[in-house]
Protein backbone atom coordinates (compact mmCIF):
# COMPACT_ATOMS: atom_id res chain seq x y z
CA UNK A 1 0.00 0.00 0.00
CA UNK A 2 1.51 3.33 -0.96
CA UNK A 3 -1.32 5.73 -0.17
CA UNK A 4 -3.17 6.90 2.93
CA UNK A 5 -6.28 8.99 3.44
CA UNK A 6 -5.90 12.33 5.19
CA UNK A 7 -9.07 13.87 6.57
CA UNK A 8 -9.14 17.57 7.45
CA UNK A 9 -11.48 17.89 10.42
CA UNK A 10 -11.71 21.67 10.26
CA UNK A 11 -12.29 21.80 6.52
CA UNK A 12 -15.63 20.04 6.55
CA UNK A 13 -14.02 16.61 6.81
CA UNK A 14 -12.58 16.83 3.30
CA UNK A 15 -10.50 13.71 2.55
CA UNK A 16 -7.42 13.38 0.38
CA UNK A 17 -5.55 10.42 -0.93
CA UNK A 18 -1.82 11.04 -0.35
CA UNK A 19 1.46 9.33 -1.19
CA UNK A 20 3.12 8.01 1.98
CA UNK A 21 6.57 8.97 0.65
CA UNK A 22 5.80 12.67 0.25
CA UNK A 23 5.58 15.35 2.95
CA UNK A 24 1.96 16.11 3.79
CA UNK A 25 2.30 19.81 2.96
CA UNK A 26 3.33 18.98 -0.58
CA UNK A 27 0.62 16.33 -1.10
CA UNK A 28 -2.16 18.50 0.26
CA UNK A 29 -1.11 21.64 -1.58
CA UNK A 30 -0.87 19.70 -4.83
CA UNK A 31 -4.51 18.78 -4.30
CA UNK A 32 -5.50 22.39 -3.82
CA UNK A 33 -5.57 22.74 -0.02
CA UNK A 34 -4.57 26.28 0.94
CA UNK A 35 -2.16 25.83 3.88
CA UNK A 36 0.27 28.16 5.63
CA UNK A 37 3.99 27.47 5.32
CA UNK A 38 7.33 29.26 5.46
CA UNK A 39 10.75 27.58 5.48
CA UNK A 40 9.75 24.17 4.09
CA UNK A 41 12.61 22.58 6.04
CA UNK A 42 10.85 21.81 9.28
CA UNK A 43 12.35 24.63 11.30
CA UNK A 44 9.90 27.53 11.43
CA UNK A 45 6.57 26.12 12.77
CA UNK A 46 4.43 28.12 10.29
CA UNK A 47 2.96 24.93 8.77
CA UNK A 48 2.13 23.26 12.11
CA UNK A 49 -1.10 21.23 12.25
CA UNK A 50 -2.75 19.17 14.96
CA UNK A 51 -3.09 15.43 14.56
CA UNK A 52 -6.40 14.09 15.90
CA UNK A 53 -5.81 10.49 14.92
CA UNK A 54 -3.21 8.51 13.00
CA UNK A 55 0.56 8.50 12.95
CA UNK A 56 3.22 10.41 11.02
CA UNK A 57 6.99 10.22 10.67
CA UNK A 58 8.35 13.69 11.41
CA UNK A 59 11.93 12.90 12.40
CA UNK A 60 13.19 15.80 10.26
CA UNK A 61 11.27 18.48 12.17
CA UNK A 62 13.31 20.89 14.33
CA UNK A 63 10.62 23.43 15.23
CA UNK A 64 8.54 21.74 17.92
CA UNK A 65 9.39 21.33 21.57
CA UNK A 66 8.19 18.25 23.41
CA UNK A 67 5.21 20.03 24.93
CA UNK A 68 3.97 20.96 21.47
CA UNK A 69 4.49 17.38 20.31
CA UNK A 70 2.59 16.10 23.34
CA UNK A 71 -0.21 18.48 22.41
CA UNK A 72 -0.47 16.76 19.05
CA UNK A 73 1.36 19.17 16.77
CA UNK A 74 3.03 18.00 13.61
CA UNK A 75 5.11 19.83 11.02
CA UNK A 76 3.43 19.28 7.67
CA UNK A 77 6.36 20.31 5.46
CA UNK A 78 8.43 17.32 6.61
CA UNK A 79 5.86 14.90 8.11
CA UNK A 80 5.05 11.79 6.10
CA UNK A 81 1.95 9.75 6.93
CA UNK A 82 2.37 6.27 8.46
CA UNK A 83 -1.37 5.58 8.55
CA UNK A 84 -4.65 7.24 7.65
CA UNK A 85 -4.79 10.49 9.65
CA UNK A 86 -7.29 13.09 10.73
CA UNK A 87 -5.83 16.57 11.08
CA UNK A 88 -6.82 20.07 12.06
CA UNK A 89 -4.90 22.48 9.88
CA UNK A 90 -3.99 26.16 9.66
CA UNK A 91 -3.82 28.84 12.34
CA UNK A 92 -7.21 27.63 13.65
CA UNK A 93 -5.36 24.61 15.02
CA UNK A 94 -2.71 26.74 16.78
CA UNK A 95 -4.61 27.33 20.04
CA UNK A 96 -1.94 25.51 22.08
CA UNK A 97 1.04 26.21 19.87
CA UNK A 98 2.06 29.55 21.35
CA UNK A 99 2.49 30.40 25.00
CA UNK A 100 4.00 33.29 26.92
CA UNK A 101 7.40 31.89 27.92
CA UNK A 102 7.61 34.01 31.08
CA UNK A 103 4.17 33.05 32.40
CA UNK A 104 4.21 29.42 31.46
CA UNK A 105 7.74 27.95 31.54
CA UNK A 106 8.63 24.54 30.10
CA UNK A 107 9.72 21.67 32.33
CA UNK A 108 13.05 20.04 31.49
CA UNK A 109 11.37 17.18 29.63
CA UNK A 110 9.22 19.60 27.59
CA UNK A 111 12.11 21.29 25.77
CA UNK A 112 13.11 20.49 22.20
CA UNK A 113 14.37 16.95 21.77
CA UNK A 114 18.07 17.83 21.56
CA UNK A 115 18.13 19.53 24.98
CA UNK A 116 15.25 17.86 26.85
CA UNK A 117 15.93 15.73 29.91
CA UNK A 118 13.97 12.49 29.51
CA UNK A 119 11.42 12.04 32.29
CA UNK A 120 12.75 8.66 33.44
CA UNK A 121 16.26 10.11 33.94
CA UNK A 122 15.03 12.62 36.48
CA UNK A 123 15.29 12.16 40.24
Amino acid sequence: MTNFTITLANQGGAAFDVDRRKPLLQSLREQGVDLPYGCKYGGCITCAAKIISGKVDQKAQRALNNRQINNGYIILCVARPMSDCTLEVGVESHDKLYRNPFLDPLAAHELKADIATPLEDKK
Binding site: Y37, G38, G42, C44, I45, R62, L111
Partner: protein, 451 residues
Protein backbone atom coordinates in the same frame (compact mmCIF):
# COMPACT_ATOMS: atom_id res chain seq x y z
CA UNK B 1 26.02 71.78 -0.10
CA UNK B 2 24.00 69.41 -2.28
CA UNK B 3 26.14 67.47 -4.65
CA UNK B 4 24.52 66.66 -7.98
CA UNK B 5 27.61 65.40 -9.73
CA UNK B 6 27.90 62.03 -8.13
CA UNK B 7 26.33 58.73 -7.21
CA UNK B 8 23.72 57.90 -4.59
CA UNK B 9 23.42 59.33 -1.14
CA UNK B 10 25.39 62.14 0.37
CA UNK B 11 29.02 63.20 0.68
CA UNK B 12 28.85 63.10 4.48
CA UNK B 13 26.43 62.57 7.37
CA UNK B 14 26.30 66.38 7.76
CA UNK B 15 25.19 66.74 4.14
CA UNK B 16 22.59 63.99 4.60
CA UNK B 17 21.04 66.02 7.43
CA UNK B 18 20.31 68.90 5.05
CA UNK B 19 18.45 66.69 2.55
CA UNK B 20 14.79 67.52 1.78
CA UNK B 21 12.20 66.09 4.18
CA UNK B 22 11.03 62.52 3.43
CA UNK B 23 7.67 62.34 1.63
CA UNK B 24 7.29 58.58 1.31
CA UNK B 25 8.07 55.58 3.46
CA UNK B 26 8.43 51.95 2.44
CA UNK B 27 7.27 49.62 5.19
CA UNK B 28 6.85 45.87 5.01
CA UNK B 29 3.66 44.26 6.29
CA UNK B 30 3.12 40.57 6.89
CA UNK B 31 0.36 37.99 6.82
CA UNK B 32 2.69 35.07 7.53
CA UNK B 33 1.58 33.44 10.77
CA UNK B 34 -1.62 35.50 11.00
CA UNK B 35 -4.06 32.98 9.55
CA UNK B 36 -4.71 35.17 6.50
CA UNK B 37 -3.56 33.22 3.44
CA UNK B 38 -2.23 36.23 1.51
CA UNK B 39 1.30 37.23 0.55
CA UNK B 40 3.28 39.67 2.65
CA UNK B 41 3.63 43.07 0.99
CA UNK B 42 5.54 46.32 0.80
CA UNK B 43 3.49 49.41 1.67
CA UNK B 44 4.18 52.88 0.40
CA UNK B 45 3.06 55.40 3.00
CA UNK B 46 2.47 59.09 2.35
CA UNK B 47 4.27 61.24 4.92
CA UNK B 48 3.97 64.58 3.16
CA UNK B 49 1.88 66.73 5.55
CA UNK B 50 0.73 68.86 2.60
CA UNK B 51 -0.74 65.85 0.82
CA UNK B 52 -4.44 64.84 1.02
CA UNK B 53 -3.36 61.22 1.59
CA UNK B 54 -0.98 62.07 4.46
CA UNK B 55 -0.64 59.24 6.99
CA UNK B 56 -2.17 56.65 4.64
CA UNK B 57 -0.95 53.62 2.74
CA UNK B 58 -1.03 54.76 -0.90
CA UNK B 59 0.15 51.56 -2.61
CA UNK B 60 0.78 47.93 -1.81
CA UNK B 61 3.14 45.59 -3.60
CA UNK B 62 2.31 41.96 -2.92
CA UNK B 63 5.05 39.37 -3.01
CA UNK B 64 4.50 36.49 -5.43
CA UNK B 65 3.82 33.81 -2.80
CA UNK B 66 2.78 33.35 0.82
CA UNK B 67 4.96 32.60 3.83
CA UNK B 68 7.97 34.83 3.25
CA UNK B 69 7.84 36.73 6.53
CA UNK B 70 9.28 39.95 5.19
CA UNK B 71 11.33 41.53 7.96
CA UNK B 72 14.23 43.85 7.17
CA UNK B 73 15.32 45.39 3.88
CA UNK B 74 18.18 47.32 2.35
CA UNK B 75 19.12 49.40 -0.70
CA UNK B 76 21.18 48.29 -3.65
CA UNK B 77 23.33 51.39 -3.19
CA UNK B 78 23.94 53.92 -0.44
CA UNK B 79 26.33 56.74 0.38
CA UNK B 80 29.18 54.21 0.29
CA UNK B 81 29.04 54.62 -3.52
CA UNK B 82 28.46 58.37 -3.47
CA UNK B 83 31.51 58.89 -5.67
CA UNK B 84 30.31 56.48 -8.36
CA UNK B 85 28.05 58.25 -10.85
CA UNK B 86 27.11 54.94 -12.47
CA UNK B 87 25.29 53.80 -9.31
CA UNK B 88 21.73 54.69 -8.36
CA UNK B 89 19.64 54.03 -5.24
CA UNK B 90 16.80 52.41 -7.08
CA UNK B 91 16.21 48.88 -5.81
CA UNK B 92 15.13 47.78 -2.37
CA UNK B 93 16.18 44.25 -1.46
CA UNK B 94 13.41 42.73 0.64
CA UNK B 95 14.22 39.29 2.04
CA UNK B 96 11.78 36.73 3.38
CA UNK B 97 13.28 35.32 6.58
CA UNK B 98 11.24 32.13 6.46
CA UNK B 99 11.18 31.46 2.72
CA UNK B 100 14.75 32.70 2.09
CA UNK B 101 13.44 34.42 -1.07
CA UNK B 102 15.06 37.77 -1.91
CA UNK B 103 12.71 40.23 -3.57
CA UNK B 104 14.32 42.97 -5.60
CA UNK B 105 11.86 45.86 -5.72
CA UNK B 106 12.15 48.75 -8.16
CA UNK B 107 11.35 51.87 -6.14
CA UNK B 108 13.10 54.25 -8.54
CA UNK B 109 10.94 54.13 -11.67
CA UNK B 110 7.78 55.23 -9.87
CA UNK B 111 8.54 55.86 -6.20
CA UNK B 112 4.84 55.97 -5.29
CA UNK B 113 4.17 52.56 -6.89
CA UNK B 114 7.12 50.21 -6.45
CA UNK B 115 7.15 47.13 -8.67
CA UNK B 116 8.77 43.73 -8.38
CA UNK B 117 11.92 43.63 -10.53
CA UNK B 118 13.26 40.18 -9.71
CA UNK B 119 13.02 37.34 -7.20
CA UNK B 120 16.01 35.30 -6.19
CA UNK B 121 14.46 32.02 -5.17
CA UNK B 122 15.26 30.79 -1.67
CA UNK B 123 15.69 27.26 -3.02
CA UNK B 124 18.43 28.49 -5.34
CA UNK B 125 20.19 30.33 -2.54
CA UNK B 126 20.10 27.22 -0.36
CA UNK B 127 21.34 25.00 -3.19
CA UNK B 128 24.19 27.26 -4.26
CA UNK B 129 25.43 28.63 -0.95
CA UNK B 130 24.04 26.30 1.76
CA UNK B 131 22.50 29.37 3.43
CA UNK B 132 18.98 30.32 4.54
CA UNK B 133 17.08 32.89 6.59
CA UNK B 134 18.26 36.25 5.17
CA UNK B 135 18.29 39.20 7.54
CA UNK B 136 20.34 42.39 7.20
CA UNK B 137 21.19 43.83 3.78
CA UNK B 138 24.06 46.28 3.29
CA UNK B 139 25.56 47.47 0.04
CA UNK B 140 29.27 47.28 -0.18
CA UNK B 141 30.56 49.58 -2.86
CA UNK B 142 28.94 47.97 -5.87
CA UNK B 143 28.17 44.57 -4.33
CA UNK B 144 25.56 43.68 -1.74
CA UNK B 145 25.93 41.40 1.25
CA UNK B 146 23.16 39.81 3.27
CA UNK B 147 23.52 38.16 6.66
CA UNK B 148 22.01 34.68 6.47
CA UNK B 149 21.18 33.25 9.87
CA UNK B 150 21.24 29.56 9.02
CA UNK B 151 22.54 26.89 6.73
CA UNK B 152 20.14 25.37 4.21
CA UNK B 153 18.56 23.30 7.03
CA UNK B 154 18.16 26.16 9.49
CA UNK B 155 21.17 25.38 11.67
CA UNK B 156 23.51 28.11 12.94
CA UNK B 157 25.74 29.91 12.24
CA UNK B 158 24.90 30.53 8.58
CA UNK B 159 27.06 33.13 6.88
CA UNK B 160 26.95 35.97 4.37
CA UNK B 161 25.48 35.90 0.89
CA UNK B 162 27.12 38.13 -1.69
CA UNK B 163 25.13 39.47 -4.63
CA UNK B 164 26.46 41.39 -7.61
CA UNK B 165 24.96 44.74 -8.50
CA UNK B 166 22.95 42.92 -11.17
CA UNK B 167 21.49 40.79 -8.34
CA UNK B 168 23.23 37.59 -9.33
CA UNK B 169 24.39 35.22 -6.60
CA UNK B 170 28.16 35.58 -6.29
CA UNK B 171 28.44 33.07 -3.45
CA UNK B 172 29.58 33.24 0.15
CA UNK B 173 31.09 36.60 1.04
CA UNK B 174 33.10 35.52 4.08
CA UNK B 175 36.30 33.52 3.91
CA UNK B 176 35.67 32.05 7.33
CA UNK B 177 33.08 32.18 10.11
CA UNK B 178 35.82 31.37 12.63
CA UNK B 179 34.25 30.13 15.83
CA UNK B 180 31.11 32.29 15.48
CA UNK B 181 28.09 30.43 16.81
CA UNK B 182 25.23 32.59 15.53
CA UNK B 183 24.50 35.40 13.11
CA UNK B 184 22.11 38.33 13.01
CA UNK B 185 22.94 41.97 12.26
CA UNK B 186 26.15 43.59 11.02
CA UNK B 187 27.58 47.01 10.23
CA UNK B 188 30.94 47.94 8.81
CA UNK B 189 33.25 50.92 9.28
CA UNK B 190 35.73 50.79 6.39
CA UNK B 191 38.20 53.38 7.67
CA UNK B 192 38.90 51.07 10.60
CA UNK B 193 38.80 47.96 8.38
CA UNK B 194 36.19 46.52 10.72
CA UNK B 195 32.80 44.89 10.59
CA UNK B 196 30.89 44.03 13.76
CA UNK B 197 28.33 41.24 13.80
CA UNK B 198 25.84 40.19 16.48
CA UNK B 199 23.97 37.01 17.41
CA UNK B 200 20.31 36.02 17.57
CA UNK B 201 20.05 32.23 17.32
CA UNK B 202 19.72 29.44 14.77
CA UNK B 203 16.60 29.80 12.61
CA UNK B 204 15.42 26.43 13.94
CA UNK B 205 15.61 27.97 17.43
CA UNK B 206 14.09 31.46 17.03
CA UNK B 207 11.67 30.95 14.17
CA UNK B 208 9.22 28.67 15.99
CA UNK B 209 9.00 31.12 18.91
CA UNK B 210 10.86 31.98 22.09
CA UNK B 211 11.50 29.24 24.65
CA UNK B 212 13.16 31.11 27.52
CA UNK B 213 14.81 27.90 28.74
CA UNK B 214 16.83 27.74 25.53
CA UNK B 215 18.79 30.81 26.63
CA UNK B 216 20.23 28.78 29.52
CA UNK B 217 21.02 25.97 27.09
CA UNK B 218 23.16 28.44 25.10
CA UNK B 219 20.83 28.32 22.11
CA UNK B 220 20.79 32.14 21.97
CA UNK B 221 23.71 34.52 21.37
CA UNK B 222 25.74 36.45 23.90
CA UNK B 223 28.81 37.44 21.87
CA UNK B 224 29.74 40.12 19.33
CA UNK B 225 32.39 39.69 16.68
CA UNK B 226 34.92 42.10 15.21
CA UNK B 227 35.90 41.17 11.67
CA UNK B 228 38.92 41.98 9.56
CA UNK B 229 36.73 43.49 6.89
CA UNK B 230 39.20 43.18 4.02
CA UNK B 231 40.19 39.63 4.87
CA UNK B 232 36.51 38.78 5.39
CA UNK B 233 37.12 36.79 8.54
CA UNK B 234 36.37 37.29 12.23
CA UNK B 235 39.34 38.46 14.23
CA UNK B 236 38.15 39.13 17.73
CA UNK B 237 35.15 38.10 19.83
CA UNK B 238 33.75 39.72 22.95
CA UNK B 239 31.88 37.42 25.30
CA UNK B 240 29.24 39.70 26.83
CA UNK B 241 27.80 37.11 29.21
CA UNK B 242 24.72 37.99 31.25
CA UNK B 243 25.12 41.66 30.26
CA UNK B 244 24.73 40.86 26.62
CA UNK B 245 22.04 38.21 26.20
CA UNK B 246 20.77 38.20 22.61
CA UNK B 247 22.72 41.12 21.12
CA UNK B 248 20.72 42.32 18.12
CA UNK B 249 20.96 45.64 16.25
CA UNK B 250 24.50 46.83 15.54
CA UNK B 251 25.14 50.54 14.89
CA UNK B 252 28.43 52.28 14.29
CA UNK B 253 28.65 56.05 14.49
CA UNK B 254 27.80 57.50 11.08
CA UNK B 255 31.01 59.53 11.26
CA UNK B 256 33.30 57.29 9.20
CA UNK B 257 36.36 58.23 11.25
CA UNK B 258 34.82 57.14 14.53
CA UNK B 259 35.44 53.72 16.04
CA UNK B 260 32.50 53.98 18.47
CA UNK B 261 29.59 51.64 18.03
CA UNK B 262 26.67 50.17 19.96
CA UNK B 263 24.62 47.03 20.17
CA UNK B 264 21.34 46.47 21.99
CA UNK B 265 21.24 43.27 24.05
CA UNK B 266 17.55 42.40 23.75
CA UNK B 267 16.99 40.06 26.67
CA UNK B 268 19.44 41.71 29.09
CA UNK B 269 17.91 45.06 28.04
CA UNK B 270 21.33 46.71 28.00
CA UNK B 271 23.19 48.88 25.55
CA UNK B 272 26.77 47.79 24.97
CA UNK B 273 29.23 50.38 23.67
CA UNK B 274 32.57 49.57 22.01
CA UNK B 275 35.48 51.68 20.78
CA UNK B 276 39.13 51.43 19.86
CA UNK B 277 41.43 52.66 22.61
CA UNK B 278 44.64 54.70 22.22
CA UNK B 279 46.68 51.49 21.88
CA UNK B 280 44.44 50.37 18.99
CA UNK B 281 42.64 47.66 21.01
CA UNK B 282 38.86 47.24 20.99
CA UNK B 283 37.14 47.76 24.33
CA UNK B 284 33.53 47.35 25.45
CA UNK B 285 31.36 48.51 28.33
CA UNK B 286 27.69 48.57 29.30
CA UNK B 287 26.32 52.13 29.14
CA UNK B 288 22.55 51.63 29.58
CA UNK B 289 20.80 49.07 31.76
CA UNK B 290 16.99 49.00 31.54
CA UNK B 291 15.64 47.42 34.72
CA UNK B 292 12.99 44.70 34.70
CA UNK B 293 9.52 45.94 35.67
CA UNK B 294 7.01 44.24 37.93
CA UNK B 295 3.68 43.16 36.46
CA UNK B 296 0.60 42.47 38.57
CA UNK B 297 -0.06 39.07 37.01
CA UNK B 298 3.45 37.87 36.32
CA UNK B 299 5.51 35.72 38.69
CA UNK B 300 8.72 37.43 37.53
CA UNK B 301 9.44 41.02 36.50
CA UNK B 302 9.27 41.76 32.77
CA UNK B 303 12.51 42.50 30.90
CA UNK B 304 12.39 45.42 28.47
CA UNK B 305 13.44 43.34 25.45
CA UNK B 306 15.32 45.97 23.45
CA UNK B 307 14.35 45.01 19.94
CA UNK B 308 16.04 47.90 18.15
CA UNK B 309 18.48 50.75 18.58
CA UNK B 310 19.24 53.60 16.21
CA UNK B 311 21.64 56.58 16.12
CA UNK B 312 20.74 60.00 14.78
CA UNK B 313 22.73 61.07 11.73
CA UNK B 314 24.85 63.44 13.84
CA UNK B 315 25.61 60.59 16.30
CA UNK B 316 24.27 62.68 19.16
CA UNK B 317 21.18 60.68 20.12
CA UNK B 318 20.64 56.97 20.60
CA UNK B 319 17.05 55.68 20.46
CA UNK B 320 15.95 52.32 21.81
CA UNK B 321 12.65 50.44 22.07
CA UNK B 322 11.60 48.23 24.95
CA UNK B 323 9.17 46.04 23.06
CA UNK B 324 7.69 44.35 26.14
CA UNK B 325 7.62 47.44 28.38
CA UNK B 326 6.20 49.69 25.70
CA UNK B 327 8.55 52.69 25.80
CA UNK B 328 10.91 54.36 23.37
CA UNK B 329 13.81 56.18 24.93
CA UNK B 330 16.11 58.89 23.66
CA UNK B 331 19.60 59.17 25.15
CA UNK B 332 22.15 61.91 24.53
CA UNK B 333 25.36 60.05 23.73
CA UNK B 334 27.53 63.10 22.92
CA UNK B 335 29.85 61.41 25.40
CA UNK B 336 29.43 57.80 24.29
CA UNK B 337 30.73 56.50 27.62
CA UNK B 338 28.02 58.34 29.45
CA UNK B 339 24.49 58.12 28.04
CA UNK B 340 21.95 60.62 29.44
CA UNK B 341 18.22 59.87 29.21
CA UNK B 342 16.62 62.88 27.51
CA UNK B 343 13.23 61.62 26.36
CA UNK B 344 10.70 58.81 26.70
CA UNK B 345 7.28 58.02 25.21
CA UNK B 346 4.91 55.08 25.66
CA UNK B 347 2.84 53.09 23.18
CA UNK B 348 1.34 49.66 23.79
CA UNK B 349 3.53 47.22 25.69
CA UNK B 350 2.62 44.86 28.52
CA UNK B 351 2.82 47.40 31.36
CA UNK B 352 -0.38 49.13 30.31
CA UNK B 353 0.95 52.72 30.21
CA UNK B 354 -0.50 53.55 26.78
CA UNK B 355 -2.95 50.95 25.48
CA UNK B 356 -4.42 53.42 23.00
CA UNK B 357 -2.70 56.19 21.05
CA UNK B 358 -4.31 58.59 18.57
CA UNK B 359 -7.55 56.60 18.70
CA UNK B 360 -5.92 53.28 17.80
CA UNK B 361 -5.49 50.37 20.19
CA UNK B 362 -1.76 49.63 20.11
CA UNK B 363 -1.18 45.88 20.04
CA UNK B 364 2.45 44.96 20.47
CA UNK B 365 5.01 47.49 21.59
CA UNK B 366 7.38 49.95 19.95
CA UNK B 367 9.56 47.79 17.77
CA UNK B 368 11.24 48.91 14.54
CA UNK B 369 12.03 52.61 14.29
CA UNK B 370 13.33 54.82 11.54
CA UNK B 371 14.53 58.37 12.06
CA UNK B 372 14.41 61.15 9.49
CA UNK B 373 17.77 62.36 8.22
CA UNK B 374 17.37 65.66 10.09
CA UNK B 375 16.68 63.72 13.29
CA UNK B 376 13.24 65.23 13.95
CA UNK B 377 10.73 62.51 13.06
CA UNK B 378 10.88 58.96 14.32
CA UNK B 379 8.52 56.45 12.65
CA UNK B 380 7.64 53.47 14.82
CA UNK B 381 6.00 50.10 14.10
CA UNK B 382 4.77 47.52 16.60
CA UNK B 383 5.25 43.94 15.37
CA UNK B 384 8.46 42.01 16.10
CA UNK B 385 8.23 38.62 14.44
CA UNK B 386 5.07 36.61 13.72
CA UNK B 387 5.70 33.76 16.13
CA UNK B 388 6.99 36.00 18.94
CA UNK B 389 4.04 38.39 18.42
CA UNK B 390 1.74 35.39 18.79
CA UNK B 391 3.33 34.52 22.13
CA UNK B 392 3.43 37.94 23.77
CA UNK B 393 0.63 39.85 22.05
CA UNK B 394 -1.84 37.26 20.72
CA UNK B 395 -4.54 39.93 20.11
CA UNK B 396 -2.37 41.25 17.27
CA UNK B 397 -3.97 38.56 15.12
CA UNK B 398 -7.25 40.47 15.13
CA UNK B 399 -5.97 44.00 15.79
CA UNK B 400 -2.96 44.10 13.45
CA UNK B 401 0.02 46.38 13.98
CA UNK B 402 0.22 50.15 13.69
CA UNK B 403 2.65 52.90 12.79
CA UNK B 404 3.07 56.08 14.80
CA UNK B 405 5.37 59.07 14.52
CA UNK B 406 7.33 60.66 17.33
CA UNK B 407 8.56 64.25 17.12
CA UNK B 408 12.08 64.55 18.50
CA UNK B 409 13.60 67.72 19.94
CA UNK B 410 17.12 67.78 18.53
CA UNK B 411 18.13 70.94 20.40
CA UNK B 412 17.31 70.15 24.01
CA UNK B 413 16.32 66.50 23.78
CA UNK B 414 12.79 65.22 24.34
CA UNK B 415 10.15 63.29 22.44
CA UNK B 416 6.42 63.57 21.84
CA UNK B 417 4.05 61.31 19.92
CA UNK B 418 2.63 63.26 16.97
CA UNK B 419 -1.14 63.53 17.55
CA UNK B 420 -2.06 63.60 13.85
CA UNK B 421 -0.14 60.66 12.45
CA UNK B 422 -1.26 57.04 12.71
CA UNK B 423 -1.46 54.19 10.22
CA UNK B 424 -3.72 51.41 11.49
CA UNK B 425 -2.69 48.11 9.90
CA UNK B 426 -5.73 46.53 11.53
CA UNK B 427 -7.78 48.13 8.73
CA UNK B 428 -5.86 46.82 5.73
CA UNK B 429 -8.01 45.67 2.77
CA UNK B 430 -7.08 41.97 3.14
CA UNK B 431 -7.44 42.00 6.92
CA UNK B 432 -5.21 42.90 9.88
CA UNK B 433 -1.52 42.79 8.97
CA UNK B 434 1.62 43.57 10.95
CA UNK B 435 4.14 46.23 10.02
CA UNK B 436 7.86 46.03 10.58
CA UNK B 437 10.93 47.77 9.11
CA UNK B 438 10.71 51.12 7.29
CA UNK B 439 12.97 52.68 4.66
CA UNK B 440 12.97 56.13 3.03
CA UNK B 441 13.55 56.54 -0.71
CA UNK B 442 16.54 58.81 -0.14
CA UNK B 443 18.29 56.75 2.51
CA UNK B 444 17.84 56.88 6.25
CA UNK B 445 19.66 56.60 9.54
CA UNK B 446 20.28 52.85 9.33
CA UNK B 447 20.89 52.42 5.59
CA UNK B 448 23.92 54.52 4.79
CA UNK B 449 27.60 53.95 5.51
CA UNK B 450 30.41 56.26 4.47
CA UNK B 451 33.58 54.75 3.04
Amino acid sequence: MTNHCCGPGYASPAEAMTAPREKLLYTIAIYTGTGIQKPDYLCTIDVDPESPTYSQVISRLQMPGIGDELHHSGWNACSSCHGDASMERKYLIVPGVRSSNLHIVDCGTDPRNPTLFKVIDGAEIKARTNLSAPHTVHCLGSDIIVSMLGDAQGNAPGGYLQLSKEFEIVGRWENSMGSIKFGYDFWYQPRHNVMVSSEWAAPNTFMPGFDLEEVGHLKYGREIHFWDFEKKEPKHTFYLGEDGLIPLEVRFHHNPDSSHGFVGAALSANIIHWWKDAAGDWQWEKIIDVGNEPHPEWPIPIPGVISVILLSMDDRYLYLCNWLHGDIRQYDISDPHNAKLTGQVWMGGLLGHAPEVNGVKVTGGPQMIQLSLDGKRLYVTTSLFSTWDNQFYPEIRTNGGCMLMVNCDTENGGMEIDPLFVVDFGKEPNGPSRCHETRYPGGDCTSDIWA
